[in-house]
């Protein structure tokens, strides 16, 4: 038993860190350090830089353009990218669509979509949730009816993150409404969002941003060749996608980076005449977060290392522990950051917009994203399977309750 990274792994971390430091555009880095989410062009630019390096499809097999890394290298890469902070790879392309096409796609689909997904030439989004199908995904109703060499799709998806930026959507649709078990009549379909009959409507979230959408499908004609896997067997494709390696699920690098940022600002703001960083209450809160992050770091290493040993696509139910603790820590670190900002975190403004309008800044440059990030991260325990669903998974898969 040995918790230390091998010299090769430590050298790999240095290589990744050095590459990010030397290649991440300064402006993107500075915006992200202040807590701004990456803009569409930031995500594309950074993913293309990583792709040119051969790293964007970090979890794909070498034969399909991946770098051939071990699970531990993948974890190190994700953590360094998050804590830089740099824009995250578009997970729809890299961790969702890519592995699914590699496993279930036809040769033509792989050839057509994989390189473009890696290079973010196509921006993908995920059409799973519906107004009546959230945690209970199998109750989805969006219908796809086969007519000749096409499907005709009618229905509605919701909570579709970044659909307004997207070129394509991978969707779960119902192809057999008469199937005995609800899971058996579902198919996995790739839909070009430029097809007539598709309408994307924004949903503004409580942080004031446009990230989420509703997507409406009215008699949308989708070529049958865009079916992934067999018709009516889409549930197993979706299960593969959701159970696929979840190395990055804890997003620990992000929490670490946020706590670091909170400490940085806490040197600048004051409490009772002294820098906040000297305050006992603040320090105890940071210490507690650092303890919890350390525990999660080791738990994550345990899961990844077991995964590396098992050497296959075997979803570890303990990844639900990573999801639960990881999102709790993301939320707690975003709360810490906001609380450091105090009243300065409350005004609504954006540095770039103020500059564009030739208006003076309302507050310090570190302030405006503090509250939005806190607000946005309330979703962390909701998306990707709510934390309550994760507890159900643990009960079923580990505890046998």
């Amino acid at each position: 038993m040995d918790l230390r990274f091998t010299p090769e792994e430590a050298a790999f971390r240095e290589e990744v860190r050095g590459f990010i430091r030397d290649n991440l555009p300064r402006e993107i880095h500075e915006r992200m350090r202040l807590g701004y989410p990456p803009r569409k062009q930031d995500t594309i630019a950074w993913q293309r830089i990583l792709n040119a390096q051969g790293w964007a499809a970090y979890n794909w097999p070498k034969a399909h353009g991946g770098p051939g890394w071990s699970p531990i290298q993948r974890m190190i890469f994700l953590e360094e990218n998050l804590s830089a902070p740099a824009p995250e790879l578009l997970s729809f392309n890299i961790t969702m669509l890519g592995p699914v096409l590699i496993q279930f796609g036809t040769e033509a689909q792989k050839k057509r979509f994989l390189p473009r997904a890696a290079n973010l030439d196509d921006w993908w989004c995920q059409g799973f949730s519906e107004p009546g199908a959230g945690s209970d995904l199998a109750s989805l109703r969006t219908a796809a009816k086969r007519e000749g060499d096409h499907y005709i799709v009618n229905g509605q998806k919701i909570w579709t993150s970044t659909a307004h930026n997207a070129d394509w959507c991978f969707c779960l649709v119902r192809t057999d409404p008469t199937a005995k078990k609800r899971q058996e009549g579902i198919s996995f379909l790739l839909i070009d969002l430029r097809t007539p009959g598709i309408e994307v409507r924004p949903i503004i979230s409580i942080d004031g941003s446009h990230h989420l959408n509703e997507v409406f499908f009215t008699d949308v004609k989708v070529p049958a060749e865009n079916l992934v896997g067999e018709e009516n067997r889409g549930w197993s494709v979706a299960k593969y996608l959701l159970g696929n390696e979840r190395t990055g699920i804890a997003r620990l690098g992000k929490s670490k980076e946020r706590v670091r940022f909170a400490k940085e600002v806490a040197r600048e703001v004051r409490k009772e005449g002294r820098p906040l960083i000297e305050d006992r209450g603040f320090r105890a809160r940071v210490a507690q977060l650092e303890v919890d992050m350390k525990a999660l770091e080791i738990t994550q290493l345990r899961v990844v290392s077991a995964y590396a040993k098992a050497g296959g696509n075997r979803p570890d139910p303990l990844s639900s522990v990573l999801k639960i603790k990881g999102t709790e820590l993301l939320q707690a670190s975003s709360e810490l950051v906001m609380d450091v900002g105090g009243p300065q975190a409350m005004p609504v403004w954006q540095q770039e917009l103020a500059a564009l309008a030739n208006e003076p800044a309302i507050g310090p440059d570190w302030a405006p994203q503090m509250a939005p990030n806190y607000l946005m991260l309330r979703a962390a325990s909701i998306y990707g399977g709510t934390n309550e669903i994760q507890k159900n998974i643990l009960n079923k898969a580990v505890l046998g309750l």
Partner: protein
């Protein structure tokens, strides 16, 4: 990076598990608690035969030459059964003090005797006023001729009642609270002027109050450098934290298993209470806490051999906090999910609860270690 035990460790674990399964049922343990010593000499000999008492002792001293991971796996197994024998006091605490600070002659005399089961040690450092401050030592050792004379008192000395030898800390210089000026001494349990009052802690394990009145020691009783005993005490405490962290993991595993079993079998409203999602989610939260705690116990164990003292202390404090909080959460909810039966003396879960409670209050509690970490935030 590797989280799997070696083949040797697996084999040792299996034989310990077999021994404890046959010797340490809840009823068997209860009868041991009722004996005057509160533990079993017979099992102590069995541990010696199995090589457990010499586990972290070098082969040249008749031991097994094992490391922190071996001790961790053993303590975890002990935790699953709430083993009562003075392993922590003798092998972990006393043994660490001897290994770190003993002269060749001292080691030669004591370590083989520990390994063969003929000698028990205890570390007498804490004092009534000191709470968790390791440098708060009032007991004095004054020079007399070539030797020393001890005056003072020691409090909550783990298994101090049964030890054959005691590692006693005393001030040879400096004021109370000063880190410098503390020295360690090896004191025979029968030494004139040493009085011991044994008692049980809340979990049934034994401890003692010591009073030292004109205890005369030869020069050779000094263990480690004169005036420089505190760093040794600190490392002994670190070894104790790592070992008890593993013990808590074992105890949490048993509590978790008992609780799951209860949730699946106890019927109310015509169905198992485990059908209720409120209880299912609590059980899942216990699992999360257990796994996070397990990670921290591993951190403590791996950190024992870290050479940078500040880095080591920081990791150990993190582990103490993490395991302390996990232990509280799991044990409190284990009792809660059992309902009334969990409150009873005749049911095992409360005994695990109390072991975890006692451990949390040894070697610096959660708040103390969190405070130390808070001091270091930068």
């Amino acid at each position: 990076m590797d989280f799997d035990p070696t083949e040797d460790q697996r084999l040792l674990g299996d034989s310990v598990a077999r021994l404890l399964a046959s010797e340490y049922s809840f009823e068997q343990r209860k009868s041991l608690l009722g004996t005057p010593t509160g533990w079993s000499e017979r099992l102590w000999s069995r541990y010696a035969e199995l090589g457990l008492l010499g586990l972290p002792i070098s082969e040249e001293h008749g031991g097994f030459g094992g490391g922190p991971v071996d001790v961790m796996l053993l303590m975890q197994a002990f935790g699953r059964h709430l083993v009562l024998e003075p392993y922590l006091a003798t092998v972990v605490l006393g043994g660490t003090a001897l290994r770190l600070a003993g002269t060749a002659a001292q080691q030669e005399e004591i370590l083989p005797a520990i390994a063969e089961g003929s000698l028990k040690l205890a570390v007498a450092h804490g004092e009534r006023q000191a709470r968790y401050d390791l440098s708060d030592v009032r007991t004095t050792a004054t020079r007399r001729g070539e030797g020393f004379v001890l005056e003072g008192a020691k409090s909550v000395v783990l298994h101090g009642d049964c030890a054959d030898r005691l590692v006693v800390s005393a001030r040879t210089a400096g004021r109370e609270d000063e880190p410098e000026g503390i020295s360690l001494f090896l004191v025979d349990a029968e030494a004139p002027g040493l009085a011991r009052r044994g008692y049980a802690l809340r979990d049934g394990t034994r401890a003692a109050e010591l009073s030292l009145s004109g205890v005369e020691l030869p020069r050779e009783a000094l263990l480690g450098p004169l005036d420089g005993g505190l760093p040794i005490v600190a490392r002994v405490v670190e070894a104790g934290i790592a070992a008890t962290a593993a013990e808590v993991i074992g105890a949490m595993e048993t509590m978790q298993a008992m609780t799951l079993d209860y949730l699946k079998t106890r019927q109310q409203f015509g169905r198992p209470i485990g059908d209720n999602q409120a209880l299912q989610h609590r059980a899942a939260e216990m699992l999360v806490a257990l796994e996070q705690g397990r990670s921290m116990a591993m951190l403590a164990t791996m950190s024992l051999e870290e050479e940078d003292a500040a880095e080591r202390a920081r990791a150990i404090s993190m582990a103490k906090v993490g395991v302390g909080q996990a232990g509280r959460f799991v044990s409190q909810n284990a009792v809660q999910l059992h309902g009334g039966i969990g409150m009873t003396e005749e049911y095992a879960v409360g005994h695990f609860f109390r072991r975890v409670m006692v451990i949390e209050h040894l070697f610096g509690d959660t708040a103390t270690h969190l405070d130390r970490l808070a001091d270091q935030v930068s």
